[in-house]
């Protein structure tokens, strides 16, 4: 009965409204102990339901603010729920904290909270209902923690608003893919809206969910009456909407805010009826929290975040220079990539520690789903764990040991896996042998509980210069593998190594492979000829209906554009000189105009005579109230771009005036002011080590020890975080920090800055840049 899918299961209804009706207030979970009989009474009133939900919604160590021991409350909650004589599900709600990167709660902290939930409820209940989640990342932490602790049924519901998205922007399709892959036994929607308003969301969930769908709506939309929020939908109308949803194929029903025992009694007539069978197409799907990538047609996997053969990326990974990595991610996104491959494999790097950092950073700036690319299974696990959504794992091959290491990771974190059609013996020479390995990979995945639609196969590109006759085998294998019903991938540009005119070979091979069934070329999306070939194939093969996408991209095409047909270009008014360019804040022309200046001037002359002069003039106009913040920042950005060009012409030791470590202090996540400071002081020639927001005093001290900066800049917006700033300063001083400590932010003034031991207070970014220069010149003379 508790395993959903065959027969309809009925849950109970609203609890908060029943508490209110009995005049009970305070921490709801504490009432399990202080008012056990009242709580039992409510549970008994829901005895028409098949499953009773324990009064434990806020019972996790982050959210619970009551006065008892959390395990004691859990015991009482389950004991009370058993009074109805029905199976009891432990109610698990969100922590009430915002997850990283927008908030402060890390995946591991959320995981530990839900691990505690698993511990305190062990042996007390018959299953779990995770409900009212609006952030799938938090729900992932809960599902991972509970799934590894119990084999009991786990149902999970998410809330959606009128726009059909969760509060963090996920669609029903994204929710279904994430929650089902992470091992929930039923998934669906609760709370949010009334039953009628939820029908569109339910329809979308039913169309894609591989597991039974659960619905627990509110009693219609709330209305305000004499200053109180009331629900007015009748039990009859509620029943009618639920009936529609049952007919659509919903398997588990119940009620949320405002529903009463009367409502549940009414819908309990569906209990035990057969669930209507649904047809769903089992697709290969990966997603981030806000973007889904269904592997139909052709999907471009951007290959640029792989250090093989890329010196600049290698250096960026070694130095953890995330700005460079972010730049590569965004340029591939702009060029039309559907997902991005992330590879951090370098001998001198601890991949297990770096890969999750890179994945976090990339997910912070783009919604594109990611392919986690590593031969190190520990790095794969670390990255798959903290990934927000369902990633692709790249890769396994036909070797049993490799699959045994990677498939459990894919199972636990719900990933799609790319299998390479090779094994210990290397890449087989014939398509048939690669096909056999593909079958072996699919079979083994199924042994680990990973269905076929979560496997993709790479039939492997060999270099035409070395093994010319094998190129055809690769594309022939695509066709064979496609017959297995799985999607395919190829690292296309490997075909042309060692040959002239590689781009011609690459795009010709790409066209051959697409025609034979390639779904996911792994390639450089910024290569306009390659991307153009994909778009042309989509048109010619009928994927791009009415050629809409192709025409949209190429409508203004002229032959000279081939190199960057898909790139995004912004029109900007032109500046005649570098000085004007910086004054007007035209970032895009700064590099080119700097090169022009450098033809006739010494690099330092460009810096002092042009850049600093322009910045000083902008600064003076800003201070005089003639120019304002937007222009100040634009000018700083233009000067920074110019500086980057000049630096290439300067000796290593003169590239920068020195380093400045910047951080928004622990407890504070407001970092816009710090970000403005960063751009402005960089434009004055300082190298910034940006530690980000909510940075612990220990991390600031460590960065200062590692980088030996000229200055440290700390920012805080809230009065409540000034003590944290004070602690950071005192720890810096204790550690013997020689750098000047600057503070700034809305709540600071000179007086407070002095009181907490800062060396300098500056009111804004420009003042800080000037003060830094003053100290710098003073130090030199």
């Amino acid at each position: 009965m508790l395993r959903p899918g065959e027969k309809i299961i009925v849950f109970d209804g609203g609890f908060g409204s029943e508490l209110e009706r009995l005049g009970l207030s305070g921490v709801p979970e504490d009432l399990n102990i202080t008012h056990a009989e009242d709580i039992k009474k409510i549970h008994r009133s829901y005895s028409h339901a098949d499953i009773i939900t324990a009064n434990s919604f806020g019972l996790n160590p982050i959210k619970y603010g009551g006065k008892f021991a959390i395990d004691e409350v859990a015991r009482a909650a389950c004991e009370n729920a058993k009074a109805a004589g029905k199976p009891v599900f432990f109610d698990v709600g969100p922590t009430g904290m915002m997850m990283e990167p927008m908030g402060q709660l890390s995946f591991e902290e959320a995981y530990r909270a839900y691990k505690t939930v698993a511990e305190i409820s062990e042996g007390l209940c018959d299953g779990y209902i995770l409900e009212t989640f609006s952030d799938l990342y938090e729900l992932k932490a809960a599902l991972v923690a509970l799934r590894e602790s119990t084999d009991l049924p786990i149902f999970a519901t998410v809330t959606f608003d009128k726009s059909g998205r969760t509060l963090t922007g996920s669609t029903p399709e994204i929710a279904a893919n994430t929650v089902a892959n992470l091992g929930a036994d039923a998934l669906g929607v609760n709370c949010s809206l009334g039953p009628e308003e939820l029908i569109p969301v339910v329809e979308r969930l039913l169309a894609v969910s591989p597991v039974p769908v659960i619905v627990q709506p509110n009693r219609g939309l709330p209305v305000l009456e004499n200053g109180r929020t009331v629900y007015k939908l009748s039990a009859e109308a509620f029943y009618e909407s639920i009936k529609k949803m049952v007919e659509m194929g919903v398997a588990v029903i119940g009620g949320c805010c405002g529903t009463t025992p009367e409502f549940i009694e009414k819908i309990s007539v569906f209990s035990g009826q057969n669930v209507r069978k649904r047809e769903i197409s089992r697709q290969t799907v990966i997603n981030s929290s806000n973007q889904i990538c269904v592997m139909d047609g052709v999907k471009i996997c951007g290959e640029r975040l792989n250090p093989t053969g890329k010196k600049a990326l290698k250096e960026a990974l070694i130095n953890e220079d995330f700005d460079y990595i972010i730049g590569e991610a965004l340029s591939q996104q702009d060029a039309g990539a559907d997902l991005l491959d992330v590879n951090c494999g370098l001998p001198q790097i601890d991949e297990k520690s770096l890969m999750p950092k890179v994945v976090r950073k990339v997910q912070e700036v783009t919604d594109l789903p990611l392919s986690l690319d590593s031969s190190n299974h520990e790095a794969l696990e670390a990255a798959a764990r903290i990934y927000n959504g369902i990633p692709l794992i790249n890769s396994v091959n036909g070797e049993r040991e490799v699959m045994e290491r990677v498939f459990p990771i894919a199972k636990k974190y719900g990933c799609v896996v790319l299998g390479l059609a090779m094994d210990k013996g290397g890449v087989p020479r014939t398509a048939e042998k690669r096909f056999e390995i593909a079958k072996r990979i699919i079979r083994t995945a199924e042994e680990f509980g990973i269905p076929k639609e979560r496997i993709m196969i790479d039939t492997l590109v060999v270099t035409a210069s070395a093994e010319q006759e094998l190129v055809r085998e690769t594309v022939r294998a695509l066709e064979l593998v496609r017959g297995l019903g799985v999607k395919t991938a190829l690292g296309v540009s490997n075909v042309s190594f060692g040959l002239p005119n590689r781009r011609l070979l690459n795009r010709t091979f790409l066209a051959m492979a697409l025609e034979r069934g390639l779904n996911m070329p792994i390639m450089n999306p910024s290569d306009g000829e390659m991307s153009g070939t994909v778009r042309a194939y989509e048109l010619l093969s009928g994927i791009d209906k009415n050629a809409e996408n192709f025409i949209n991209i190429f409508k203004n095409y002229t032959p000279a554009q081939t190199a960057s047909v898909l790139g995004i270009k912004r029109e900007e008014k032109s500046a005649q000189s570098l000085y004007d360019c910086v004054r007007q804040g035209l970032k895009s022309r700064a590099g080119e105009l700097t090169e022009e200046e450098l033809l006739t001037k010494d690099p330092m002359e460009v810096v002092n005579g042009v850049l600093i002069k322009a910045l000083d003039d902008v600064g003076a106009a800003y201070e005089a109230g003639k120019l304002f913040l937007p222009q100040l920042i634009s000018s700083a950005e233009a000067a920074k771009a110019a500086f980057a060009v000049v630096a290439q012409h300067l000796p290593k030791d003169r590239e920068s005036k020195g380093k400045v470590v910047l951080a928004t202090v622990q407890g504070d996540v407001h970092d816009i002011g710090k970000n403005i400071v960063k751009v402005v002081i960089e434009s004055y020639g300082w190298s910034v080590v940006d530690l980000g927001k909510d940075v612990s005093p220990e991390d600031v001290v460590k960065a200062v020890n590692d980088h030996d900066p000229f200055a440290v800049g700390l920012s805080a917006l809230m009065t409540t975080t000034v003590p944290s700033m004070e602690k950071t300063i005192s720890m810096l001083k204790e550690s013997g920090c020689r750098a000047k400590i600057f503070v700034g932010g809305a709540v600071l003034n000179r007086e407070t800055a002095d009181r907490i031991g800062a060396d300098c207070y500056t009111k804004d970014a420009l003042e800080m840049a000037k003060k830094l220069d003053e100290l710098y010149i003073g130090g030199k003379s």
């Binding site: 922007g169 912070e364 816009i672 970000n675």
Partner: protein, 208 residues
């Protein structure tokens, strides 16, 4: 957002951008228009409120007592633009800091504009929004508002240092009737307030 609505917002946006009454360039106006367009797409305005005839316990102290004097009731509310706006401002900070800063200021003005509109829909004769943390009140009082409203339902969370996330969120206490007026007298920002330094007031940017 249509042009006339955007025009209603402009004075407050200029104010947040530090224009201090000066006239912005046409380029800046274009930039604001384009940032507002992106902002509207990213924003998911949401609110929660409760109306009380007898004020909840935590309001039974200064400075709320003064604020609520002669009122017939009190509204406790939380409003937010949603986490999509934080994400937009944060992402822009990597690619275009100017847009990031301008969008941030637009968002502050937009939240106030939408909140004013929502309050007009509740009723008449309402005071301004009194926000815990301002006017001599403690920001810690936010936790009472969170206990009352549970704004997690609309995606608003309270950190251990008592700031709300999404960062473009506001909590307000509004008197129904009464005579409360804004004043800089007890504001904790008074010492470092940029408006005051220039002789302006945050709640009335144009007036000295």
């Amino acid at each position: 957002m249509n042009f006339s609505e955007l025009d209603l917002l402009r004075p407050q946006i200029y104010n947040y951008l530090g224009f201090k009454g000066a006239k912005p360039s046409p380029e800046t106006d274009l930039l604001i228009g384009s940032c507002m367009a992106d902002l509207e797409k990213a924003a998911q305005f949401n609110y929660l409120y409760k109306i009380f005839e007898t004020p909840p316990e935590f309001l039974n102290k200064p400075p709320y007592l003064d604020f609520l004097k002669d009122s017939r009731g009190v509204i406790v509310s939380v409003m937010t633009l949603g986490i999509g706006v934080d994400r937009l401002v944060s992402r822009l900070s990597y690619t275009d800091m100017t847009r990031s800063a301008v969008t941030d200021c637009c968002a502050s003005a937009y939240l106030e504009y939408l909140s004013d509109g929502f309050e007009k829909g509740i009723g008449e004769n309402l005071s301004y929004r009194f926000c815990p943390g301002y006017g001599g009140s403690s920001v810690n009082d936010l936790k009472y508002i969170f206990d009352i409203l549970r704004p997690e339902k609309i995606g608003v969370t309270l950190s251990s240092s008592f700031f709300m996330l999404p960062s473009k969120s506001m909590a307000g206490v509004i008197a129904i009737g009464g005579h409360a007026k804004k004043s800089c007298k007890d504001c904790f920002m008074a010492k470092s307030c940029n408006y005051l330094k220039e002789g302006h007031k945050c709640y009335d940017p144009g007036r000295r």
